[in-house]
Amino acid sequence: MAEGIKDKVAIIGMGCTKFGELWDKGADDLMVDAFKECIEDAGIEKKDINAAWFGVHFEEQSVGKGATSMALALKLPFIPVTRTENFCATATEAFRGACYGVASGAYDIALALGVEKLKDTGYGGLPGGPSLMGTKNALVMPKLTAPGAFAMMATRYFSVYGLSPEEGKRMLAKVSAKSHYNGARNPKAHLRREVTEEQIFNAPIIAWPLGLFDCCGVSDGSAAAIVTRADMAKKFRPDPIYVKALQIALSSGEELMYTKWDGAHVETGYRAGILAYKEAGVKDPRNEISMAEVHDCFSITEAVTMEDLQFSPRGKVKEDIETARFNHDGPQPIQPDGGLKCFGHPIGASGLRMIYEMYKQLQGKAQLPERQIKNPKLGLTHNMGGFPAMNIVSVAIVGL
């Protein structure tokens, strides 16, 4: 009987670059910046690392295939380095690889690092191209963009729960306003300006019904973690953070090609949540999860994710949003670092950036006092890659 990963692995060091449109930084620079902070935080040297996992999504955009780019950038001394790629869960997959590597006893110390250099395309939004989903899909799928794909979930959510476009957009405006509030207070965040609900509501439409401020930043950045076996962790630092759950779930085709999915939730998110709660022994997510960084690529994604992760009852997230449950000073802060919305979204780094925020908050080391959440016990991170109708969701839970 599988035991799961709970309390077998500890994080002893993390690093995260500032995210943003970093015109003067290449992927190599970003990797070195995150790595440097990470090993200094862990108090180890490069030679202590036994194996590494490397996450990058749009490799054609920056570093090319394989894992050699990281091995070379960091001058890793002939150790195993494995590249992971699983859409927006890419960094969480790198982290999962490193955790399983040390949990298995194969290694003592492992590195997980994710990077993405997006801002070398020449246009806004994510790198496009029909070939991203394979040759056959290129010939039959619409030319989807990320905002369009998620806008379809907003359309559907409004329809299923009887919200007029105005009611729905006002609900979503509150989601983004909250993240802008948090991002404005985070020195490493990409977008650091507070925005009012009115501004959000009236912003130009990117993909109906989503407007500009419903969409997350397209950013460059990198984040990294050093993990070790839980029994060794205290040798490195007094306050290691323990991994409680690492789960992923992928679409089976049911959402896109079968007609049962309601289009107003993310089935994989719900399934991955259930798996993670089981692994971590969480019975009541709404009250046991102190805080979370979820995949708010778009405001609607955060809203449905609250329901998928059972923080809000199905169809009722609007009430929790309106009572500011997820605000920084609310009972269950979501996106305390600004989220993808404002901290930014370099695809292959985002999963580790989320864990970085949970790690710092759990240690009581959020950079500024006003950013610190009081006495968190369990932090959850959630990545969703692909489109609502065809995707992957990862859920990680870390805690003291």
């Binding site: 395309t121 020449g122 246009y123 806004g124 939004g125 496009g128 191209g129 029909p130 070939s131 040759t135 056959k136 290129a138 010939l139 039959v140 799928m141 619409p142 030319k143 989807l144 963009t145 905002p147 369009g148 794909a149 806008a151 379809m152 979930m153 359309t155 559907r156 329809s159 130009p204 439409i205 990117i206 993909a207 109906w208 019904p209 989503l210 089976s252 085709g253 049911e254 896109l256 090609m257 079968y258 007609t259 289009g263 109708a389």
Partner: protein, 480 residues
């Protein structure tokens, strides 16, 4: 009895008033006749319109019985790669059939039709779908821009159970250099209009009609409808008068409502005539282009069996005005438009994959699970129904003729498009199956969750670097 078994037509949704053209390019000195032209959407061409007319014509027709497909056009997208074979694939017709492209002259529509009759008469084919379609590119500001419209017609030719019998034909051929377009050229050249009218149009139509009357000893007064293209409105009437026909016998030329649709023109007019025809009616059809062909039909009592066609009438009534000439230029790629760097990303077509997946991509076929009955698109080997999951228990299932409803949608301003926003969404098909598709021929404001849609074959992209015109199916609001 050999004749026409079914008919169909297609007219694109957009119409552009001649004044719209005049307001933009009138400074060049051309002067517009009154009226409007049917204008293909940016994702339509002669090939996609031929498919649409074919679908209309094949409504309630067993597709397995069709053993030939002829395309007539002067604006075929491919010079090499048979356009008719592509159309046959899009229509999901069987592969044991004869396909041929009839090109190069506006009389190719009647030429294809006559060849189909010959093949059926000679018993080398039993049921041939003739699609005539034209979507001609005119130089901005040219007289042709006012004259030409886009449209298509389809006629199913066979033996037995015909709605109109072919009673005879007569042809004349001249190397008449009124218009020409050499290999590799984008636009047609045209000699002076008065020459075309006086030495060609008037002469050939009169000659071919007089010829067929004489050949079969027919009287012009016996025809319920007389059909020939209406390139020159006044001359069109004058020819009839000289032939002894009454104005009431003349079939509307569509010249002021659709424009001159080239190869498709006489066939579209024939379809329109058949829509109103009664058993016993005699119909005379003549084409114009490097001479012309004339055909005589007699309508049978089976005409009443043809139902549920959009044909010319319904398509004509279902329209939206294209008020921007600049948008028309953009649709035709007649002016370089900036789509941003994102718009420079091309779809590269792996031809071997396209051929392997032709049923999925071009025929819009998926599969239906023999165990649980779930239709699914694209073709799956493992059933997508989570309670079934049967492996390799599938049969082919065609989605192109199924209607559906909008499950969800968006209007995407980020996606590169010549006509933003890109509207797309998920469609739930009547009878089962769901997939996402681009939407076309619709305005974002009119799209709603639950709105009924139908599938339409469209050109999705042109990859200029490889010369590939890529086609697939889109969803559209149900027309008419």
């Amino acid at each position: 009895m050999i004749g026409i078994k079914s008919y169909g037509a297609y007219i694109p949704r957009y119409r552009m008033n001649h004044n719209t053209i005049f307001m933009s390019v009138g400074f060049l000195g051309t002067f517009p006749p009154p009226g409007e032209n049917a204008v293909a959407n940016h994702d339509e061409d002669a090939l996609s319109m031929a498919v649409a007319a074919g679908i209309d014509c094949l409504s309630a027709v067993k597709r397995e019985a069709v053993d030939g497909l002829y395309l007539a056009t002067t604006s075929q997208p491919y010079m090499v790669r048979q356009n008719s074979a592509l159309i046959a694939t899009a229509l999901d017709l069987p592969s044991n059939m004869r396909t041929a492209d009839f090109i190069g002259s506006t009389k190719s529509g009647t030429a294809a039709l006559l060849s189909a009759f010959d093949a059926v008469k000679g018993k080398t084919s039993s049921s041939i779908l003739v699609c005539a379609s034209d979507c001609r590119l005119s130089k901005p500001g040219s007289p042709q821009e006012y004259l030409y419209g886009d449209g298509a017609a389809a006629l199913l030719v066979g033996n037995g159970d015909v709605i109109a019998t072919l009673e005879g034909s007569y042809s004349v051929s001249y190397d008449f250099p009124d218009r020409w377009r050499a290999s590799g050229e984008r636009f047609e050249h045209a000699w002076e209009d008065r020459f075309i009218r006086d030495s060609g149009y008037r002469q050939f139509i009169t000659e071919v009609i007089a010829g067929i009357l004489k050949k079969y000893e027919l009287n012009i007064k016996d025809f319920a409808k007389i059909i020939y293209p209406g390139l020159y409105t006044r001359e069109h009437g004058a020819i009839a008068k000289r032939l002894g026909a009454e104005p009431g016998q003349l079939q509307d030329t569509l010249i002021n409502t659709v424009g001159d649709t080239g190869s498709a023109s006489p066939l579209m007019m024939l379809v329109a005539a058949l829509e109103d025809a009664r058993a016993g009616d005699k119909i005379l059809v003549a084409s114009f282009g490097n001479g012309g062909d004339a055909l005589v039909f007699q309508v049978t009592e089976k005409i009443g069996n043809i139902k549920d066609r959009r044909a010319v009438k319904k398509h004509l009534a279902s329209k939206k005005e294209l008020t921007s000439y600049e948008k028309y230029l953009a649709f035709r790629n007649l002016a370089p438009m900036d789509l941003g760097m994102r718009g420079e990303i091309n779809i590269r077509t792996p031809m071997s994959a396209l051929f392997r997946e032709r049923k999925v991509i071009l025929s819009l076929c998926g599969s239906k699970c023999k165990k649980c009955g779930t239709p699914q698109y694209p073709y799956q080997r493992i059933c997508v129904n989570p309670d079934c999951g049967a492996i390799d228990q599938m049969e082919d299932y065609r989605f192109s003729d199924k209607e559906g409803v909008v499950f969800t949608y968006t209007g995407d301003n980020l996606a590169a498009s010549i006509d933003p926003p890109s509207v797309y969404g998920l469609v739930d098909f009547t009878g089962g199956g769901r997939f996402w598709f681009d939407f076309t021929d619709c305005d974002l404001d009119s799209v709603k969750v639950g709105m009924p849609v139908e599938m339409t074959f469209r050109r999705r992209y042109v990859d200029e670097s490889s010369g590939v015109h890529g086609y697939s199916w889109k969803a559209a609001p149900i027309r008419a």
